[in-house]
C-alpha cells in the first residue's frame, strides 16, 4: 500500500501581532443581505487586522439603528457599547476620558448622526476627541421601515413615491467647519478607497470622520433614490486615488512630480493621494469646503479625503491628562492625603 503524505498546510496568514484575521471578526450580521453596512464591516475588520491593532484595546461604540448594530459584527473580543439613539458621542467621550489608551471606533447612521444626534455630533467634532467616527449613510431610517433622514438629497424619492423637499445636511462640510481633523467620504462599494481611508483614520490622532454612502437594499435602492448602488456608482467622483502605507512597512512609492500628495499621519503611517481629475490640497479647509459645495451644485458625489490636519491638539491633550488611564489610577494618586483635608478645613474655620 502506497503511503501518501499530506502536504504541509500552508502557513496561516497573520498580521504583525501574529493574529489571524479571524481574531478580528464578529458575530454573524443580522442586517439584510446586500446591505452596504456589511461591506463596511468587512473593511473595518481588514483595517484593524492589517494595522495590527490589539482587539482588547478597542472600544466599539454606537447609537441606535441598523448601522449601530454593526459593531457586534466585528472584533468580537473587543469591548462594545450600544448606547441610546444619537448619543454615542458622549459615551465615546466618557470612555476616552477614563482610558486614553483605548482605540475608539464609533459607528453611527445618518439618522443617528444628522437628526437626533446632531447636537452631540457637532460637539464631538468640535472637541477633536481621538476616535474614528463612521456614518453608514443611506438616507433613510431602516429599522422603522424607510422614512427619510436628514442626509437624503433634495428631490430624492422614497419607494412610496414621497419626494424629499428639504436640503441634505452635508456631514463632511459640517465636520470640517466644526474642527474635525480627518474628514472623508467614501462608498461602501469602493473597497480599495474605503480601506485606505479607514486605515488612515486608525493612524490619525484626533476625530476622524468618515461618511460612507451605504445603500439600503430594502428601502432606498430604487429608481429616484440618490443613495442607490446604481446612482452612487454613476455619480461617484473620487478626488484622488488613495493608498495607505502603514508605519511598519518601508515601502517607497514613486510618483511623477506634481501628481501625488503624501501625508504623514501621527503614527508615521502615510497616505498617498494620487491626483485624478483636479488638484486638491487636503490641508486647506477652504479648499475642502469649495470641493464639497461645487460637487453638490453639480449633482456629483465626490469621495475621498477632503481635509486633514495633523497639527491640532486633540481633546485629551488639551485636558493635560496623565499618560495612564484615569480609570485605574491607584487610590494613592486620586485621594489626597489627610493633610490636604486639614488644610481645607483650616481655611473654612
Amino acid at each position: 500500500m502506497a503511503t501518501t503524505t499530506t502536504p504541509p498546510a500552508p502557513p496561516k496568514k497573520v498580521n504583525r501581532l501574529g493574529l489571524e484575521i479571524a481574531a478580528y471578526k464578529g458575530h454573524r450580521s443580522t442586517l439584510c443581505a446586500g446591505c452596504g453596512h456589511n461591506a463596511i464591516t468587512e473593511r473595518i475588520i481588514e483595517a484593524f487586522y492589517e494595522l495590527g491593532i490589539e482587539p482588547h484595546r478597542v472600544a466599539k461604540l454606537s447609537g441606535i439603528g441598523c448601522s449601530s448594530k454593526s459593531p457586534a459584527y466585528f472584533l468580537s473580543t473587543a469591548y462594545g457599547f450600544n448606547a441610546v439613539h444619537g448619543r454615542m458621542p458622549s459615551i465615546a467621550t466618557g470612555a476616552m476620558l477614563a482610558n486614553r489608551t483605548l482605540v475608539a471606533i464609533g459607528v453611527s447612521g445618518d439618522g443617528d448622526t444628522a437628526s437626533i444626534g446632531i447636537g452631540q455630533f457637532v460637539h464631538l467634532m468640535r472637541r477633536n476627541l481621538p476616535m474614528i467616527y463612521i456614518i453608514e449613510d443611506n438616507g433613510v431610517y431602516g429599522l422603522t421601515k424607510g422614512q427619510f433622514s436628514a442626509t437624503a438629497d433634495l428631490g430624492s424619492k422614497l419607494k412610496t413615491g414621497v419626494v424629499n423637499d428639504l436640503p441634505a445636511i452635508d456631514t463632511c462640510a459640517l465636520a470640517i467647519l466644526l474642527g474635525a481633523t480627518y474628514v472623508a467620504r467614501s462608498f461602501s462599494g469602493d473597497k480599495r478607497q474605503l480601506l485606505a481611508l479607514l486605515e488612515g483614520a486608525v493612524a490619525h490622532r484626533g476625530t476622524a470622520m468618515l461618511d460612507v454612502i451605504s445603500p439600503c437594499v430594502t428601502f432606498n435602492d430604487h429608481e429616484g433614490s440618490t443613495k442607490s448602488y446604481s446612482y452612487v456608482k454613476d455619480h461617484d467622483e473620487p478626488l484622488a486615488d488613495v493608498s495607505f502605507v502603514p508605519f511598519f512597512q518601508d515601502i517607497s512609492v514613486d510618483y511623477e512630480p506634481g501628481t501625488a500628495t503624501e501625508i504623514t499621519l501621527h503614527d508615521g503611517s502615510r497616505l498617498l493621494l494620487k491626483k485624478l481629475a483636479a488638484e486638491h490640497d487636503p490641508t486647506q479647509k477652504v479648499e475642502a469646503l469649495r470641493v464639497l459645495t461645487e460637487a453638490h451644485d453639480k449633482g456629483e458625489i465626490v469621495t475621498g479625503l477632503f481635509y486633514v490636519d495633523t497639527k491640532s491638539k486633540d481633546f485629551l491633550e488639551l485636558l493635560n491628562l496623565v499618560d495612564e488611564p484615569l480609570a485605574t489610577l491607584p487610590e494613592s494618586r486620586v485621594r489626597p492625603p489627610q493633610q490636604v483635608l486639614d488644610e481645607v478645613m483650616e481655611e473654612l474655620r
Partner: protein
C-alpha cells in the same frame, strides 16, 4: 402694646419685654448685584467668630442685577439653624421692597434703613434707625465708582454697634474674605467703621436684641453644601466630572474644579489625574459619565430638576446595562423652569423611578453639609459596588447656603471599587459572564475595556441581554435579568445609609423627615414639647430604598407625620409603596412648598392643627 390684638400663640411666646440675647434673626433686603454678599457674609462670620451658633440663607431672584434679594442671618444660642419665619432686625436697603418688608415685621422689631426711605412713617410699634448711607460712604470711598460696592459695609458697622458684635471680629472676617485684596479690605473696613461711629454718636439703642460672646462654635467650619459635596467627590477619588451649568448646582462642579486643580495635579509630571468637561447639555453630561463609568472611572455629574428630566433616558441605560454613575441633584422649585433660585424637595418620586420601563434607583438624602461630604464619598463606593447610577438628593437651601459644621473626617475606609475582574482573574476562572449572579446578591462581575484577555471583552447594550451580555428577546432571559436586577435592589436596601432615630420614651407620634427639612424638625420637636407637651419620636431617613428599621418605626407608632418640601407628599408616597396597607394608613403629611426653606413654626403649626383635628 395691646396684647388682645395678638391672635396667635406664636406672638405670645416671642414678644417679651426684656432683653433678648443671642436669639434673633436679621434680614438684609438689598437689590441683586449691589455687592451686598460681602457685607452679609462678613456679618455672618463675625457672629460665628463670637462663638454664637449662626446660619445664613440667601433668598435671591433668578436675575443678575436689579431685582430684590434678601439675606437672612439667624443667631441662636440653642443651636437652631433652620430658617426662622419671624424677623427681628431688618436692614432695609431696597426702596422697592422696604414698605412691604417693614409692614411684615412683628411689633418690637428693629429697622436699620437708608434715611431717604423715610420708613418711620409706616408704623410706630417698631424701632427705627435711619442711616445716611450716601453721606457716610463718600468720605471713606473717594472713588465714586466703587461706592456702590462699599456702601453696604456700613450696615455691618451699624449692626455691630447696635447688637454688640465685636468690631475686631468684623475686621477679622473682612480681611479673611479679602485675603489677597488688602486695598479692597481697607476700603470696606473704613465703611464699616464709619457706620459704627455714626451709630455710636447718633443712634441710641432702643430695641431689645443683643449678641454676646459665647463658646458654641469653637473648632467649627462654615461651608455650603455644594462645596461640601465637592470636597466629598475630591476625597472619593473622582476622576471624571462632566456637567452643564444650572442653578443651584453649578457651584458644586465649579468648586470641585478649583479643588482638583489645586490638589490633583501629579507632582512629577504636572499632569492632571482628573478630567473636567463642561458638556453641551445634560444629556451629554450623563452620557459622558456613563461612558467613563463603563470604562472604569469614578465619574459624576451635578444638576437640578430640569437636568434630571433630560437625563431620564440615559439613566435607564445606566440601570439596565449596570454602569456606575454618581449624580448630584441640587433640587430647586419645579415643575418646568419653576422658581429656579428657590428651594424644594420636589424630585424625589421622579428620580426614584427615573426613565421608562421598570427602573428604580438608590437615592441618598444628605441633611447637612457633613452628609453632603460623607454621602458624596459613599455614593461613589455604592455606584461601583452596586454597578448602577446613585443619586445624591441635595437642595438649594443645603447646596447654596452657608452652614456651620464640625470639621469633616478623613475617609476611614479605602475606596470600594466593586466586582472588577482583571485579566489574571479571567485567566484563572477560565470564563467570564458579565451578568451572571455568581454571588446571589444580584451583582455580576465586570471587566474594564482594555483588559488584555480574549475572554474579557463583552458588549454593553440597552437592549435585551442574557447573562453573557448577548442580545436576546427570549422571555425567560428577560425575566431572569429583571428578577436579578430586583435582587440587586434588595442588596442596595441593605447597603445604603440607614435611618437615624431620635426617640422619646413611649411617644405615640412619630415624625419622618429627610434632607434639609431635618433642622426645622429638630426645632419643631422642642416647640411641640415646650408649647404643647407633645412628645414625638423622630426617624430621619437617609436613603431610598428604605430598610426594615423604617418600616418598624412606622409599626411602633400610632401615626406618623412625614415632613417634606413638596406639594404631593412624595416621600410619603414612596413609603406607602413599601408599607402594608394598614401601616400606610398611619401616614400624615406636613408639606412646605413656597420656595423658602422650611421653618420649625410651619412644621409645628401643621402638626398641632392635625392633632386637633384627629
Amino acid at each position: 402694646m395691646a396684647t388682645t390684638h395678638v391672635a396667635t400663640r406664636e406672638a405670645e411666646v416671642h414678644v417679651e419685654p426684656h432683653k433678648v440675647v443671642n436669639d434673633l434673626s436679621i434680614q438684609v433686603a438689598t437689590v441683586n448685584g449691589s455687592g451686598s454678599q460681602t457685607a452679609n457674609s462678613v456679618l455672618l462670620r463675625a457672629i460665628f467668630q463670637m462663638g454664637i451658633p449662626v446660619s445664613g440663607k440667601n433668598l435671591f431672584p433668578s436675575n443678575i442685577a436689579g431685582l430684590p434679594t434678601w439675606f437672612t442671618i439667624r443667631a441662636s444660642k440653642h443651636g437652631y439653624i433652620a430658617r426662622r419665619k419671624e424677623i427681628d432686625f431688618l436692614v432695609a436697603m431696597n426702596p422697592e421692597t422696604a414698605d412691604e418688608d417693614v409692614r411684615d415685621l412683628r411689633p418690637g422689631s428693629a429697622v436699620v434703613y437708608d434715611e431717604r426711605l423715610n420708613l418711620k412713617r409706616l408704623r410706630d410699634d417698631c424701632v427705627f434707625y435711619p442711616v445716611p448711607f450716601d453721606q457716610l460712604v463718600a468720605p471713606c470711598c473717594p472713588d465714586a465708582k466703587l461706592r456702590k460696592l462699599v456702601r453696604n459695609m456700613i450696615y455691618d458697622g451699624v449692626l455691630a454697634k447696635l447688637l454688640g458684635i465685636e468690631m475686631e471680629e468684623i475686621h477679622k472676617a473682612l480681611f479673611k474674605q479679602f485675603r489677597k485684596k488688602a486695598k479692597a479690605a481697607e476700603l470696606n473696613w473704613g465703611a464699616a467703621r464709619a457706620g459704627y461711629e455714626f451709630t455710636a454718636k447718633n443712634l441710641p439703642k432702643a430695641d431689645r436684641f443683643f449678641l454676646q460672646r459665647m463658646d458654641a462654635t469653637q473648632g467649627k467650619i462654615i461651608i455650603d453644601g455644594n462645596a461640601a459635596a465637592a470636597l466629598g467627590a475630591l476625597f472619593a477619588g473622582v476622576t471624571v466630572v462632566t456637567w452643564y451649568p444650572i442653578t443651584p448646582s453649578s457651584t458644586l462642579c465649579e468648586t470641585l474644579t478649583d479643588y482638583v486643580k489645586r490638589y490633583r495635579i501629579d507632582p512629577e509630571t504636572k499632569k492632571a489625574t482628573f478630567a473636567v468637561v463642561q458638556a453641551e447639555d445634560e444629556l451629554a453630561a450623563i452620557g459622558m459619565v456613563l461612558g467613563a463609568g463603563w470604562a472604569g472611572a469614578r465619574a459624576m455629574t451635578a444638576t437640578s430638576g430640569p437636568g434630571i428630566s433630560l437625563m431620564a433616558e440615559f439613566v435607564g441605560l445606566g440601570y439596565y446595562a449596570e454602569v456606575p454613575a454618581v449624580i448630584f441633584d441640587v433640587q430647586r422649585v419645579g415643575p418646568s423652569t419653576g422658581l429656579p433660585t428657590r428651594t424644594a424637595q420636589g424630585d424625589i418620586l421622579s428620580t426614584a423611578f427615573l426613565s421608562h420601563g421598570d427602573t428604580k434607583h438608590p437615592i441618598l438624602f444628605p441633611c447637612s453639609v457633613e452628609e453632603c461630604y460623607s454621602m458624596a464619598i459613599e455614593a461613589f463606593d455604592l455606584a461601583e459596588e452596586l454597578q448602577t447610577p446613585i443619586f445624591v438628593m441635595m437642595d438649594l437651601d443645603l447646596g447654596m447656603n452657608n452652614w456651620m459644621a464640625d470639621p469633616f473626617p478623613y475617609p476611614q475606609k479605602p475606596m470600594a471599587r466593586g466586582k472588577v475582574l482583571t485579566a489574571e482573574d479571567v485567566e484563572r476562572l477560565g470564563q467570564f459572564e458579565r451578568y451572571r449572579d455568581v454571588d446571589g446578591d444580584g451583582i455580576g462581575y465586570r471587566t474594564l475595556p482594555g483588559t488584555n484577555h480574549p475572554l474579557a471583552g463583552y458588549f454593553t447594550r440597552g437592549s435585551g441581554h442574557n447573562e453573557k451580555a448577548a442580545y436576546t428577546e427570549r422571555p425567560s432571559d428577560y425575566v431572569n435579568n429583571m428578577n436579578r436586577l430586583a435582587r440587586k435592589f434588595e442588596t442596595a436596601r441593605q447597603r445604603v445609609p440607614g435611618p437615624v432615630f431620635q426617640e422619646a420614651a413611649k411617644a405615640e407620634v412619630g415624625i419622618i423627615a429627610y434632607g434639609s427639612s431635618h433642622w426645622a424638625v429638630l426645632e419643631s420637636l422642642d416647640q411641640l414639647k415646650q408649647e404643647r407637651d407633645l412628645e414625638a419620636d423622630y426617624c430621619r431617613v437617609r436613603a431610598f430604598p428604605f430598610n426594615q428599621q423604617v418600616k418598624d418605626f412606622v409599626r411602633r407608632h400610632r401615626w406618623i407625620y412625614v415632613v417634606e418640601q413638596n406639594r404631593d407628599a412624595q416621600l410619603a408616597q414612596l413609603l406607602r409603596l413599601e408599607l402594608d396597607a394598614e401601616e400606610a394608613k398611619k401616614l400624615r403629611s406636613v408639606r412646605h412648598y413656597n420656595g423658602l426653606p422650611i421653618d420649625a413654626r410651619s412644621v409645628t403649626d401643621s402638626i398641632v392643627r392635625q392633632e386637633e383635628e384627629k
